[in-house]
Symmetry: C2
Subunit: 210 residues, 2 copies
DNA sequence: TAGAGCCACTCTAAATTTAGAGTCACCCTA
DNA sequence: TAGGGTGACTCTAAATTTAGAGTGGCTCTA
C-alpha cells in the first residue's frame, strides 16, 4: 500500500531495533537494571540516537501506550460531523484491533505487561500517560460543549470513557500474561467492551439500591 | 583485537552489504545487465552511497583487486631498512593469506573470477589496475636507485615482480573456479610461488639455449 | 554532611546518508 | 545523421547519526 521511501523505512527499522533491544533486555534483567547505554549497544546505535527516537527511557516501554491513550481522544475528535460522542466511542471500542490474528503481538504485550508490572517507575508513568490523555479528552468535550475547561461534567464523562479504555487495556494485559490466545482475548475484549458500553448507556441508576 | 568504534563498524557493514549485493546480482545476471540503482536497492542504500564507497561500478568487483596489486608495492616500499628488494618480495609472496582456512572466501573468489571472466569491461579494468600498480612499483624502484623514472631496468624488475604476483592471482582464480579446496589452493600457491622465486633468482640464463 | 560515582539526558560539531536534479557519453532508431 | 532514451556518475542541501563532553539529580559512604 504505502510505498515508503528509503529514508522512512530505515527510520522505522531503527526505531524497531531500539525498542526490541530494550524490551529484550528489560525482560531479562528488569527495567532498572539496564542502562540506556546498554540498550544502545544492543541495538547497534549510539546513545544519542536512542534519545532521538524516544524522549525518555520510560518511553522505550510506553512507546505505544501514549499512542493508545491518545488514540481514543483523536478518534473522538475526528469523528464524522453529527455523530454523537457516545456513538463514536462505541465504534472505537468495538473496532478490530488485529490481536486475533497475531499471537506474536500478544506475546510482546505479555512481555511488556510483565516489565511494567515489575517496575514502580513504569507503573507511575503509565498512570501519568492516561492521566494526560484523560485531561485532553475532558478539554475536548468541554470545548465542544462550550463550557469551561474544568467543567465537572466534562471530567466525569472523560473519566468514564477513558476508564473503559483503560480497563480493556488491563484486560488484554492480564489475559496475555495468562497465556491466552489472541483469538480468545479478542472475543473477551469484545464481550467486556459491550458490557461496559451498556453500563455507560444505562447510567449508574441500577447501583442505587445496592 | 582491534576494538572498532560504532561508526567504523557500520561503515564496514555498509561496504560489505553493497559489495555482496553487487556480486550476487552480477553473478545472477551478468555485470552489464545490472544497473547501479539495482545494486543500491538490493543493498538498501541510496545510489549516492554506493558511489561514496566505490569510485565506479567496476570497483564494485575490483574493490579488493586494486588493494591486492597495491599491497605488493606498499609491502616493498615499507620493508625493513637494509632488506633487499628481492628478499622482501620473497617474504611477501610466501606470506600466509588465510585461504587454507576459509573456503567461503574461496567461493567468493570463484564467483568474482567468473564475473570478471564473463565481462570484457572488467577484464580491461583488471589490466588497468595491474598496470597502474606496476607503474608505481617501477617508480619506487627508480627512486630508490636514484635513476630516471622511465629507467628500463626499473621497468624490467617491476614487471617481473608484478608478473609473479599476477600469475599467482591467476592461479588462485583458476583453482577456485575448478572447485579446489582452500587448503589445496594454498599449497599450490606456495609451491608455484617458490618456483617463480627460483626463476627470478637464477635469471633467464637457463632459457638461452632453449 | 561533604564528596564521589552513577546514570538519565542534553548539546554541539563533525561524519554519513539521502533525495533529487543534472551532466555526459553512448546506443538505437527514424 | 538528428533526436530520444538509458545509465553511469556528480553535486548540493537537508536529514540523520555519531563522538564526546557536559549537566544535574540521586545514592552511597567516609
Amino acid at each position: 500500500m504505502t510505498e515508503l521511501g528509503l529514508r522512512e523505512r530505515k527510520k522505522q527499522q531503527t526505531r524497531s531495533r531500539i525498542r526490541d533491544a530494550a524490551i529484550r533486555l528489560f525482560a531479562e534483567r528488569g527495567f532498572d537494571q539496564v542502562r540506556v547505554a546498554e540498550v544502545a549497544r544492543e541495538a547497534e546505535v549510539s546513545e544519542a540516537t536512542v534519545f532521538n527516537y524516544f524522549a525518555s527511557k520510560e518511553d522505550l516501554v510506553h512507546d505505544g501506550m501514549a499512542d493508545f491513550a491518545d488514540g481514543l481522544v483523536e478518534a473522538l475528535r475526528l469523528r464524522p460531523a453529527g455523530e454523537s460522542l457516545l456513538s463514536a466511542f462505541r465504534t472505537y471500542v468495538l473496532r478490530p484491533h488485529g490481536l486475533a490474528e497475531d499471537d506474536r503481538a500478544v506475546a510482546r504485550i505479555a512481555t511488556v505487561a510483565r516489565i511494567v508490572g515489575d517496575s514502580p517507575t513504569l507503573r507511575a508513568r503509565e498512570r501519568q500517560v492516561f492521566d494526560r490523555a484523560t485531561r485532553a479528552l475532558a478539554e475536548l468535550i468541554a470545548t465542544e460543549n462550550n463550557t469551561r475547561a474544568d467543567d465537572v461534567e466534562s471530567w466525569v464523562i472523560a473519566n468514564a470513557l477513558m476508564g473503559v479504555n483503560r480497563a480493556l487495556k488491563e484486560l488484554v494485559h492480564s489475559q496475555a500474561l495468562a497465556g491466552h490466545s489472541g483469538k480468545r482475548i479478542a472475543q473477551d475484549v469484545l464481550a467486556q467492551g459491550r458490557r461496559a458500553l451498556d453500563i455507560l448507556d444505562e447510567g449508574l441508576a441500577r447501583y442505587r439500591t445496592v
